[in-house]
Subunit: 416 residues, 2 copies
């Protein structure tokens, strides 16, 4: 089947799932979790096939050892995958929430109600556990989805989707084709062009993938290419707090997008030498004149720069940052507020590690991804980011002419 | 100055205006209204120049009479323009609103706060009053803006912007270059490519303009190309209500985007002949087999079709509609709810004219435009559509390691 036909089926499925009641969606999620649990051995077998092929690719240098590790499903990942689906089932329904109820006039009531976006296109790399997670998020938010995984995990992906879809087939009234999968590289190109049918693209993978996608589609993309996060140590920063926060933000998980990449230090901060020495003790490699300030090391490497004042720090961040998460360490409240207002990033932190930028830590219950967009959804995105809203207007035959001619007047009373 | 430099100045200005306090923004708006009032004669003079040139273009057929009319500023438009700016000043500040306050743990508090989007690119056609309105919306929402108007209104546009900017120059602490204007056709192309600096494009004009823009940029576009609105007269519809609503939706302002273009009638509706006869009496031209069902007449012309049932009506709308505003006329509540849930449009109405789809009628106080997007903002968009949010996280030195290792636990208590 060519891609456009798959996309048409997805659009049709999106109409089918749009008004599915919460109970059926949750039943579907629990059945999927159960089916994955019941067929875990078949999934491990499929994964073994992928791993055997991948081993050769590691030896020939075509994929890295870390890609191999992401590809590998173990007991822990399997457990997390199943638990993740059940957790999503237990979250409140993001769809059909009344965001506004306003009486425009007697018996003329406007409802702003959350609803699904439509069709999601998901492009992901080696991690096969993404399929189950994204499928669950899509079902919970009443969206249809087309998945394109990395070729390295093709056997695992196929097996997981087969299990998901045979579980869904057994649910009464569950529409067909809500979760579909495509496999070829050409399909990616087709997906990116398919703005008639696909409403949102979510890339899950490295920054090369995300950059490529953002540069090659007119469909809205939810995600971030880079995570170039900064910590600014202000004049009045507490030394031990600075040591603790910078060390955590750089070393707790250096390849995370919310790990710090650049340290900016106020020239009047008295403990610069002590701070740098302490970071080096934590095996952080410091670079004070990097080739580029807009670089994500993803490793225990930290660029640093001395700045004259808060304004220079803010300018540096707004120029070289990626709008992800940036932190000021200071005991001066006014400076903290100025920093948080002036820095144009999804997360602006005061005296806290940048590593907190995460949907689970924010209490969203599930994370779709972290967005550096300036429209729709920004920062860690929960299920809400997979919804939009529609306006329902309910009346008794009202017409605009009466209001235009002054026979009737709006009274605009908010009920919610 | 080339476009990229203008865009850089706009980005810089966007940082300057981002945290401007409400009082200064409102002072700026009132000063602009005052200045336009004081210089109304100079604006009318500039407009006369444009009209003299435009008259020749009407004669040579290069522009239509209706473009000429939109170009023309009269006393009413002048008054509305000035009143519009004052109205925007009196609206609540859309920026700096706390959308969520959540304690993640003791002394670790997350704030989701509304903030400006950044730089808006506005491309509009003949109407010179758009400049004042969009400038006011941008200032109120703390965004910088680059305006590109139609060449027919160049003298009026220049004069209005000159007056706006000299009013802003007199406001203490008001950043430079918040409102800039470009003039050449090449600038449009440059603007559409400028996704490094421009965060949102808002086209104000006919559907050709909007389609061109949507097809030629990766920057998010807020607007709608088509307004192909439907009314479905269900089996149980009341005849007189149907006559009233359809007549209003087609004739009250036929060129509006929320005017109805297609009437769908349930085959079991008993008063079809009476309804159609009544519409013809209101000088509506009925077409029962149009070349295309996806056509916006913008005139007193109405396509109509008999459908077997509600499902066929919904399918027709989701296939040929533009996702703008669609209505069901019925006395059957269940059908009304099914229609409103199944139709994938920004506005889904029950027993009400489609002409109500409008920011002022919805009580938003100002309208940025009407969007048929599936992300960010949908339907009539008020000032809120020119904002996004950031997350501020304020702590006392907390690090992620403590939570990852189970030494501390999140408690996620919502304060707002």
């Amino acid at each position: 089947m060519d891609f456009v036909n798959i996309a048409k089926l997805a659009k049709e499925a999106s109409f089918g799932i749009a008004d599915l009641v919460e109970d059926i969606k949750n039943e579907a999620l629990l059945k999927i979790a159960e089916a994955i649990e019941a067929h875990r051995d078949a999934i491990f077998d499929a994964n073994k096939k992928d791993l055997m092929d991948a081993e050769k690719l590691v030896q020939s240098g075509e994929i890295t050892k870390s890609t191999f590790n992401r590809l590998k499903l173990d007991e822990n990942k399997m457990r997390d995958m199943i638990k993740g689906i059940r957790d999503i089932a237990s979250l409140p329904d993001p769809v059909n929430k009344k965001l506004l109820v306003r009486e425009l006039d007697e018996e003329l009531t406007l409802y702003k109600v959350s609803c699904p976006i439509g069709v999601l296109g998901i492009i992901f790399e080696a991690r096969p556990d993404v399929i189950a997670q994204i499928s669950a998020l899509a079902i919970k938010s009443s969206n249809a989805v087309i998945l394109k995984g990395g070729k390295e995990s093709i056997n695992t992906n196929k097996k997981i989707l087969e299990i998901i879809n045979s579980a869904l087939d057994k649910i009464n009234n569950f529409p067909k084709n809500v979760i579909q999968q495509v496999f070829s590289r050409d399909d990616v190109g087709e997906m990116l062009k398919c703005d008639n049918y696909i409403n949102l693209i979510i890339p899950r993978g490295g920054n090369k993938l995300v950059k490529f996608i953002k540069e090659n589609t007119k469909i809205p993309v939810l995600g971030h290419a880079d995570g170039i996060c900064h910590i600014f140590v202000d004049e009045s920063a507490d030394l031990s707090m600075a040591e603790k926060i910078v060390t955590d933000a750089k070393t707790q998980y250096p390849s995370a997008c919310n790990a710090v990449e650049t340290l900016l230090i106020h020239e009047k901060f008295k403990f610069k030498a002590e701070l740098l020495a302490s970071l080096q003790l934590s095996e952080i490699k410091l670079i004070d004149n990097p080739d580029s300030w807009a670089f994500e090391y993803g490793d225990k490497i930290l660029a640093f720069k001395t700045v004259k004042n808060l304004d220079e720090a803010v300018d540096h961040i707004n120029t070289f940052g990626s709008g992800h998460t940036d932190c000021i360490i200071t005991s001066n409240k006014e400076n903290a507020e100025k920093f948080m207002n002036k820095v144009d990033s999804a997360g602006v932190y005061w005296n806290v590690s940048t590593r907190f930028a995460d949907g689970f830590r924010y209490g969203f219950g599930a994370e779709v991804g972290i967005s550096t967009n300036k429209t729709h959804a920004r920062g860690p995105v929960g299920l809400e980011g997979l919804t939009i809203y529609k306006y329902k207007l309910i009346g008794k035959g009202q017409i605009v002419r009466d209001y235009a001619e002054g026979i009737k007047q709006f009274h605009h009373k908010d009920v919610i």
